[in-house]
Structures are given as structure tokens and as C-alpha cells.
Amino acid sequence: MRKAYGASSRGLKTYRFVRWVDRGEGVVHRETKVIRVKGSRRPPRRDPGPRPLPKAQRPSKPLVPQPFGVYRGAFGRLEATRLLNRAGFGPSPGQAEKLARMGMKRAVLSLTRPRGKAKLIGPAPVDSDGLPLAPADSWGHDHLWWLDRMVRTDQPFGERMAFIFHDWFATSNEGVSQQQQMLDQYATIRSHATGSFDRLLLSLTKDPAMLQWLSGGDSTRFSPNENYAREMMELFSLGADRGAYTEDDIREAARALTGWTYDWDDDQGTINFRFDPELHDTDSKKIFGKRGNWNWTDACRLCYEHPLHASFFVAKLWSCFIPTAPSPSTKAALMKKYLSGGRQIRPVVEAILMHPDFYRGAAMVKPPVVFAAGLMRSLKLTIKTEDWTWLSTSAGQQLFYPPNVSGWDDERWLDTSTTRARWLMVTTALQDRHFDAWDDQKPYPKDEPTRDALNRALATFGWPALRAEHQQELVSLSDRVAGRITDDWQQGPYRALRQNALLQLIAVSPDMQLS
């Protein structure tokens, strides 16, 4: 079947052609298809160009949450792209096609169970002066450093899970004395993010950044501080107002958690984090109705062994990937999977990534960092400017600086400030990809037709799927610009500007904001 255009076989001619396919979800995407026709028939157009489809915005039925199960529908580029957008940071050119060929299950497992150590592909990032990043020392370089890992890693799932738990156990450098402590926390999260939740919670409870952020290192038997105990229950493991714990449980757990301490050094800041038995409250405590001489590991254990922990965990994890709630049967099955696996995270994520709701359900808005990383991945860019830090901050998300301990609000990413920041991210990304309309040495083609202009722009981003009306609008823009050409000197330059406009619009389009 994979014959060159026009090759003959038993009286049939084989043609490869590109077509625009509407999968019925309002998304048009480009597929290459090989067909064979009789020689006498007129071959299809080799490349129809971007073709708008009229029904692209048909109302979709509200999603009925599916019972627990495995998605069995079509797994093409669209589905693979969603998988890469939500379980990673979007496709690099060709990656979605590659994944689509694997089939859904293998595609998921290829992401969640990568072989070997993660590698960073391509040139290392540099700051605006061309110097290596100093993530532990320079403000904003911590953000660039992690963003770069999201862009260049060959194991995006691991980074995405670390990103999810950075948001879950949201710790901000605002309350931590050294950036290095945040980087260390990142390393801790990264190493446990697909493993055991128990170990994740235990290791973060004694993590120096966390001990500062939520006062765990200031809590002693002489005066226990409730801050960490409260958030461990409310935000990390059990959830508020579910009847999981009382104010007394918080107070008693705060006593159990006492003993961690650190020193202050005028040069280095906080140092020497340690458990000091002298500061630990060794009296009996009653947590969740259980009495004992509990210590900090007991306090954690009582939380993750709490009968209401698993339901909290799976619902929160689900919401990181799917915007609508799971059906009761799905939730129950996920809880069972979680508990029977000894509270391992990865099997639950895999079940979510294979669930029908993941592929059939509604779109989500990409977090700003995912948008930025995805943009760079699609253009094969590496970081060459510190602008990415303030751009991301303006877009509402600076890594290592979540707004508070409950993390970022994923429901509310887009407004006029943050959308403008995303626009400027695109402008920044196109720094080396746009055309200079007035460069006589490299004139833009004077005769580029409308269709080719759009195809060229789409190809630059690896053929992202655009909704039909957006694509139609881009065709319209191309025609409108062509219509403005009245003098011969405008032929090339206006077309170059048109290409720049198309690149900008594709990347800022609603489609590119969604996963």
C-alpha cells in the first residue's frame, strides 16, 4: 500500500492524499490516506489544503460518566495528542502520529512506563546573556530550569506527575529560604511521583522546604503548631468537611508531628534540618479515635490509612486529568485499584489515562506552563531567554511559586491578562521562526497561494488540529491579506507578514489553549 504517488499495480493506481477529517468533536485534523483507484479515474487532489467543515460546532451531548473500563474507540492523532497534552507537555512534531500507531494501551504504557533513565534532548537552556542557568541562585532560573526539563525530556510523564504533585503539595519559594531547597523538594517529588503515595507523603512531611512552608520545623512539644497537621488532612490526604477529622484530630496530630527543627545561619539561611527527640511530644495522643504514643510517621500513616483517604486521593488525581467527575463505579474501581496496589500512584493514573471519559470527555484548558512547554516542544525550541519566567508569571503560573498551599486553580486560567501573556509567549517563541518581510536577501515567495500559506504555517507546528471555524478564519485572513496587495512591491513582503500572522494566530487559537 505504501507506494509512491501514481505507481501502478494490477491496473490500479495508488495515491497518497491528505484530507481533512472531522471526527465529530468539532475538531478538524489532517490525515494522510492511501487509496487505490482505477487509472482512468481522476486522481484526488494531492493536497486539498485546509478545508473547513461546516458542522464542526455541532452541539455535543453532555458526557455521561462511563462505568469503569477501558476506552475502545478510535485512537488516532487527536486522541494521542490529548494523551500527550495531559500526561505530558504536548507532542513534538510527529510524536502524536507515532503514538497513534501504537494503539491506546501501548501508547499509555509507553508514556507511563518508559525504559531507562530520562534524558534531556537537544541543546541546554541558557539565560538572556547566553550563560548557563543558575536555578539555585538566580531568581526565575528555577522556573526556567524545570520548564526546560518539561520541554526537552524524553519521559514527559514523569515530569507531568511531578508537576501535578508540586501543585498538590503546593509549596512556594515565598516561604522557603533557599531556591535549592525547592529544587531538592522537586527531586523528592519527582522520585516518588509515580510510586507509593505513602512514601510521597512521608518524604514531603520531613522535606526542608515543606518544614519551613507549613511551620513543621517550628512545631515543638512545648508549643505544637497546627499548620502542617491541618493542611496534611485538609489538602493533602483527606479533604475538608467530609467528616474525616475534627479540630481535635488536628491538634493531636500537630503534637505527633513535633520534633522537626532546623537552624538559622545568617549567610545560608535555614540549615541543618533534623528530628530532635527532645522537641518531640512523647505523651499519648488520640488521632481519629486511636490512642497511642504517635510520632510523625504515625501521623502520616493514620492519614493515608484513613478510610476516607482513598476516595479523596482518586477523586483529586482524576481531576488532574479529566474535568468531569468519575461515575460511582469508576471511582469505586479506582479506589480498589489504589488500595489493592498498596497505594501505588501509577496504576491509578494508568487506569485514568485508559478510561473512556479521558478520550470522550470535555476539553480542559492547558495550564500556562503546559502551554509554554507545548509551544516550545512543537517548535523544537530550547530556552534562550529569561523572558519565559515573567511571561509564565503573567500567564498565571510560576513554577515553585503556587499562590497558596491549595495550589493553582485549574478552572480559571484564562482572562485578559493571562491571555495576553500567552500571546506574548507565542511572539517570543516565534523570535526565530518568523519571516522578515523586508529582508531583500531572503525575499518571501511572491506567488504563494492562500492554501499553501496556511499549510506552511500549520506544518511549522506539526499540523495541530484546529476547529473548522478557526481554520476557515485563517483561510479568510489569507485571502484578505492577498486582497490588500495592490502594488507589485507588496507581493513578497505582505505574504511574509501574512505567514507571521498565521503562525501567531494558530498558536494563540482557542484550540492550542485546550487539551
Binding site: 468539532g26 460546532q57 455535543s60 515565598e174 516561604g175 507549613l214 511551620s215 517550628d218 512545648f222 508549643s223 505544637p224 503548631n225 497546627e226 499548620n227 491541618r230 493542611e231 485538609e234 479533604g239 475538608a240 468537611d241 467530609r242 539561611g269 535555614t270 483529586k316 481531576s319 474535568p323 470535555a362 498565571g396 499562590p403 498551599v405 491549595s406 495550589g407 486553580d409 485549574d410 478552572e411 480559571r412 484564562l414 482572562d415 485578559t416 491578562s417 493571562t418 495576553r420 500571546w423 511572539t427 516565534l430 519571516f435 518581510a437 476547529r467 479568510s476 485572513l477 484578505r480 490588500r484 501574512r498 507571521n500 500572522a501 501567531q504 494566530l505 482557542p510 489553549q513 485546550l514
Partner: protein, 451 residues
């Protein structure tokens, strides 16, 4: 090591940034089990109000074309009275702001954090209390009879979660499920269909207390330097923006897609019209702080005769002082009180002082007994202040003392925040509280406003 003191729930207003999910289609949870901030789920549109020279986010009233609001603002009658809610985010330590230095137990409970009575001015209405030196701005206004103090305001069965307690205050009810704010319900009942400035959040995102069910309300953000720079030049730029605008205009039934499209449409509107609103000059000197900038801007808006009615803003800094309370609290309190004093002077110099009343509140007070980190943990009753030339200027509810604390060893309340709302509605806004505050009939009506 800045802000190491707090448990960092306090910047929750950040959670509300950005557009929201579609109205009536289910409310997104910030965290499982956490009460949703009122206003979650309201549609949000951005506009530039030409009449106001402001970039606005407009919430609610999604069926109306955005342009109608510009007309609405231009034609709206200037509101006679304005209420400004100033939120001390994080649970401000009432026992430092008005320190019970005349109560011996205070010094037992606060061996390190007690305010030194030697350097503090006694509170004239109850000399067992002393003003924090950093609250000098508030003290000055109180001495002029322009501050009504509620020294122990709270509610029964106090909740010590920032999120939950703040939510109660925002919705004006002890209801974790409430989805409209108390000022929002007031506007729903009495407000305009076309003037989003009637409920204005100055933090750039909708204040939950302002969340309405049907009437439009707005948030303002910085309005300078808004451009959409690209590699496109004229004349193609015009076509670029035209297409961008159209991206924002298509209809869809997908929440996320709508959110993206609305944001794009509004972003372009702001770009189109954002010119003209340049620097204004305040008639009085303000301190250098975010709150001061917001309040001086508010002064300018009111001075320009814009139809504002309910306004909301957060004070500088965080008040969640779990550790190292002394310096942080003093700094934040100083900035906040100085800003409020400047705002009052601004209003007075503009002749607007009888039209504006400030309500300053926090989600709870802090525990009387200090913790070992030179900080205080979450408590129960706190303070609230009604500030302005029309404030009654007489304390509401006495300070309950420190000998009889509640079962969690926290200060008992002697006034209910819902009573405060009832009085503000009836005495200031001229609206019967019954339809707005649940259980209003059984709530007291302390005198907060001069008649």
C-alpha cells in the same frame, strides 16, 4: 525568608483569577471538600468601558452583548452611597490590633507577642484595650468619630479553616454551599442589568462577596501598557486582530472552549480600546503599597463620578501569622491603616466623605495563646471596623475578656458578622436585610451608621 510566618492559604484571591466555568453547569472544586468560593461558575467577560476608561472583567449576565455595559455605565446614575469592603486576608490577630493590655491574662497568654502598653494608646471606648502602634491611622480616624469598632465579631461554632470561615463571611451565611456573595445578593435584588461597575472588585478578579446570580459585576486590573505585540506589521496587523477577534466570537457549548474564546474576545476588546486611562493624580499623599494604589484609584473613579456602588479589595500582606508575627503584623497593619487614612483624606478633599463607608474584616481572629514559633494559630472571634465620616463611631459588642474562652480556647464573639451585614444593608444601603441575609429576622441590628 520572607513570609515564612504564614500557612499560605491567605492569597486565595489568586485562586479566583481568570475566567470561570459556565454558569449553571456545575461548579468546579478547588479542592475536594473545600467550600466553593461564591461566584465560582459565573461567566466572565472582559470589556473596556470607554465611559470609565477601564478594562473590566464583567461577571454574570452572559446573554447581554458586552457593548451594552458601556452604555449602561455611561447612563447609570451615580450611586448615592458606596460601600467598600477591605479584607484582611489570613485571619488578623485582633488581640494585637486592639490589644487587651488591661487584662492580666493577656501577658500570660502572650509572653512574647503582647503589645507593650507603654508605647500604645488606650482605646477610648474601653481603656482595657490599646491600639497597636501600627494602627495609628485607624486610631486617628476613631478619635475623629469615624470608626465603629466590633472588637469581638464572629459566629457560633466557629470554623478554623481559612477557606470555610472566609466563605461564610463572603456569602453572609453559615453555609458551605452558598454560591452568591452577600453584596452580590444585594445587587441581584436592587442592582442594574447593565452597569457592571455597581459591584467592583479592585483585585483584578471577582471577589466572592460580590458574586451575583444574575446582575453584572466587574473586576478591574492594571490598565497601562496593554499591547499585543507580534511580528506582523501594518497593514496586515489589522487582519491579524480581526481574525483574533473572530476566534473569540464563535459559539460553543464546551466550557473550556468558551472560556478560551471569551478570554480571546475580551483580550481583543481591551486591546482595541485601551487608551486614555493614564495616570491620575491623587489629591492627597498615599503610602507606597498595593492597597494604597487601589484605594487612590478608587478615589479617582469616584471623583470622576463613575457609578460604583459596592466595592471590594484585599489589604496588603497576609495576616496568617503562624510565626514571627510581631514584625510582619506591624508592617502589614501599618501599610493597611495608613492607606485607609489616606483614602479617607482623599474622599474628604473631594467632598465624597459622606457617600463612602468602608467595612474592614478578616475571616477570624487568632488564638489568644501564642504558639512557640512567635506566632499565633487560627482562632475564633476577630475584629471588624466600619470606617467613614458616616460611621456611627461607637463600639458594637464589648470585648469579652480572656478569662472565659470558648471550648477551643479562643475568644468568644460578642457580635455576629451577619448582624453587621444586616445593619449595613438597612442603615447604609437602605435595603431590608431579610431577603439577603438568611435568618436576618433573628439577628440583631447594631447601630453602625450615623443618622
Amino acid at each position: 525568608m520572607n513570609q515564612h510566618n504564614c500557612c499560605n492559604n491567605y492569597t486565595r484571591s489568586k485562586l479566583l483569577q481568570g475566567a470561570a466555568a459556565q454558569a449553571g453547569q456545575g461548579l468546579p472544586a478547588i479542592e475536594p471538600g473545600m467550600p466553593l468560593p461564591a461566584g465560582t461558575g459565573l461567566t466572565r467577560r472582559r470589556m473596556l468601558a470607554g465611559a470609565a476608561g477601564l478594562a473590566l472583567s464583567v461577571y454574570g449576565a452572559s446573554k447581554l452583548p458586552i457593548s451594552i455595559f458601556d452604555v449602561g455605565i455611561a447612563e447609570a446614575a451615580q450611586s448615592n452611597r458606596v460601600i467598600v469592603s477591605i479584607f484582611l486576608d489570613g485571619g488578623a490577630d485582633a488581640l494585637s490590633i486592639l490589644a487587651p493590655t488591661g487584662h492580666p491574662r493577656y501577658f500570660d497568654l502572650r509572653p512574647n507577642l503582647a503589645i507593650n502598653p507603654a508605647g500604645a494608646t488606650p482605646f477610648s471606648e474601653d481603656t482595657s484595650l490599646s491600639w497597636h502602634p501600627a494602627a495609628a491611622g485607624l486610631r486617628t480616624l476613631h478619635s475623629e468619630g469615624k470608626v465603629t469598632v466590633l472588637p469581638a465579631v464572629g459566629y457560633d461554632d466557629p470554623n478554623q479553616s481559612h477557606f470555610t470561615s472566609r466563605h461564610f463571611w463572603e456569602v453572609g451565611a453559615l453555609d458551605t454551599g452558598g454560591s452568591t456573595g452577600w453584596m452580590g445578593r444585594y445587587l441581584d435584588l436592587t442592582g442594574s442589568d447593565v452597569n457592571p461597575l455597581q459591584g467592583l472588585s479592585l483585585d483584578g478578579s471577582l471577589s466572592p462577596a460580590m458574586a451575583t446570580a444574575s446582575k453584572p459585576v466587574a473586576a478591574v486590573e492594571g490598565v497601562t501598557g496593554y499591547d499585543l505585540w507580534s511580528w506582523v506589521d501594518d497593514p496586515v496587523t489589522e487582519e491579524l486582530y480581526r481574525s483574533f477577534k473572530r476566534f473569540g466570537s464563535f459559539k460553543s457549548d464546551s466550557d473550556a472552549l468558551n472560556q478560551a474564546r471569551r478570554a480571546i474576545g475580551s483580550t481583543n476588546s481591551v486591546r482595541e480600546s485601551l487608551e486614555g486611562f493614564s495616570e491620575f493624580t491623587a489629591p492627597v499623599a498615599y503610602p507606597d503599597s498595593d492597597l494604597a494604589r487601589q484605594l487612590s484609584g478608587l478615589g479617582a473613579l469616584l471623583g470622576a463620578g463613575l457609578p460604583l456602588h459596592c466595592v471590594s479589595v484585599s489589604a496588603d500582606g497576609g495576616y496568617d501569622t503562624h510565626s514571627d508575627q510581631k514584625d510582619d503584623l506591624a508592617r502589614n497593619l501599618q501599610t493597611t491603616c495608613d492607606s485607609i487614612l489616606a483614602f479617607q483624606r482623599d474622599l474628604e478633599s473631594r467632598g465624597l466623605q459622606d457617600r463612602v463607608l468602608v467595612e474592614m474584616w478578616s475571616e477570624f481572629g487568632r488564638r489568644p495563646e501564642e504558639n512557640g514559633s512567635a506566632g499565633t494559630d487560627h482562632g475564633a472571634a476577630g475584629t471588624a471596623f466600619i470606617i467613614g465620616s458616616m460611621a456611627e463611631g461607637r463600639m458594637v459588642g464589648e470585648f469579652p475578656g480572656l478569662t472565659q474562652l470558648d471550648e477551643d480556647d479562643n475568644v468568644r464573639h460578642t457580635s455576629d458578622f451577619r448582624s453587621m451585614y444586616c445593619s449595613l444593608l438597612e442603615q447604609w444601603l437602605g435595603q431590608e436585610a431579610g431577603p439577603i441575609i438568611p435568618g436576618a429576622a433573628k439577628l440583631a441590628r447594631p447601630k453602625l451608621v450615623r443618622t
